[in-house]
Symmetry: C2
Subunit: 173 residues, 2 copies
DNA sequence: TGATAATTGTTATGAACCATATCAAATATC
DNA sequence: GATATTTGATATGGTTCATAACAATTATCA
């Protein structure tokens, strides 16, 4: 009885429809069978990614940073003095779409565009003092509230193995 | 000289900018340092997911199936007789957005909406004969061209471990 | 029973994200 | 010095994702 929920209802639809009765006492809110779906790499990968981004946003709510914005700040901090094209392209962001992102970060005084003196077409990107401070706090939040959950969930060794496999896929698939 | 185009300019920016010279012969096409980014779960996960979807689309080019469409066909096959709300919600698709998806699949004669006789509000979903045939071919393509790459890349044991960890994240994060 | 509430598929609509073409200013090329 | 290329930017269109609202149907329950 408890196992047969899905059976009950889809057979209700199937059989009751044929017999025209609707008064059979009902079981539970039966879940669908995922079947082969749960073995599909893309499916599982996408759902995991959504969950992780969701959790990231919750952890960063106080700083109002999206994963993309966080990645920009990290990359600018690690590579000061690079221009928009360089930062955007290594993040896989198209130049036109990067403009609004920077407008946002700059309006919040987290990073700044500086006209380059030796190539006056390009804008050098740097973190402001506030940007550095916010990034420091962001890193702490990510480490303690976000990445730490991975360790709790998988254990240190598995966590590292997972990151390694994902990097391999990202680079060699 | 041929290799150094990109290098010329950006190290020119970093070092030459300070010294004010632009004539130094240049090194290599320097890539940016990813730094902590490559350890960020969300970043690596997203990039891996994009690569996997990209590969999926290439493998399915002959059948013109997106990952989302493939998942719908799989789920309908495994759970015949369910309505739109049930199929959409277990895939995380909002009902309004599911309408156009079904319009597409139905216009290609891959699945059909059947007015339920015991609840005339709802549409029962089923695969058409063509839908079943296409899904069979799709599964083969996915198995031989897509999922098989995972084994080549990671090995059977690691592949299973990866899927398990991703499922855990998707369900418990 | 009949009035009211809830559900189903649908449409309309807007936000967010992604991609292409194009432009002016600046620089590189030859 | 004429031509081509690069940079940041704008405009624009296409997807994807989310919410509100509606008609038809069914459930609820006084």
């Amino acid at each position: 009885m408890t196992v047969s929920k899905a059976a009950e209802k889809s057979s209700e639809k199937a059989s009751n429809a044929a017999k025209g009765r609707k008064d059979a006492p009902e079981g539970l809110p039966e879940a669908l069978q995922l079947g082969e779906l749960s073995e599909q790499l893309g499916y599982v990968l996408k759902r995991a990614q959504l969950k992780v981004f969701e959790n990231f946003l919750r952890c960063m709510a106080s700083l109002q940073l999206t994963p993309a914005q966080f990645s920009v700040l990290l990359l600018v901090e690690k590579n000061p003095g690079r221009n928009q094209t360089e930062i955007a392209s290594t993040l896989g962001i198209l130049r036109p779409n990067f403009v609004a992102m920077l407008d946002n970060l700059e309006s919040r005084d987290l990073c700044a565009r500086i006209r380059s003196t030796n190539d006056r077409r390009s804008h050098i990107l740097v973190l402001t003092d506030k940007g550095k401070a916010v990034l420091t706090r962001a890193k702490k939040l990510v480490a303690t509230k976000h990445e730490s959950r991975l360790n709790e969930l998988l254990g240190q060794a598995n966590r590292e193995a997972l990151l390694e496999m994902l990097s391999k896929i990202a680079n060699e698939f």
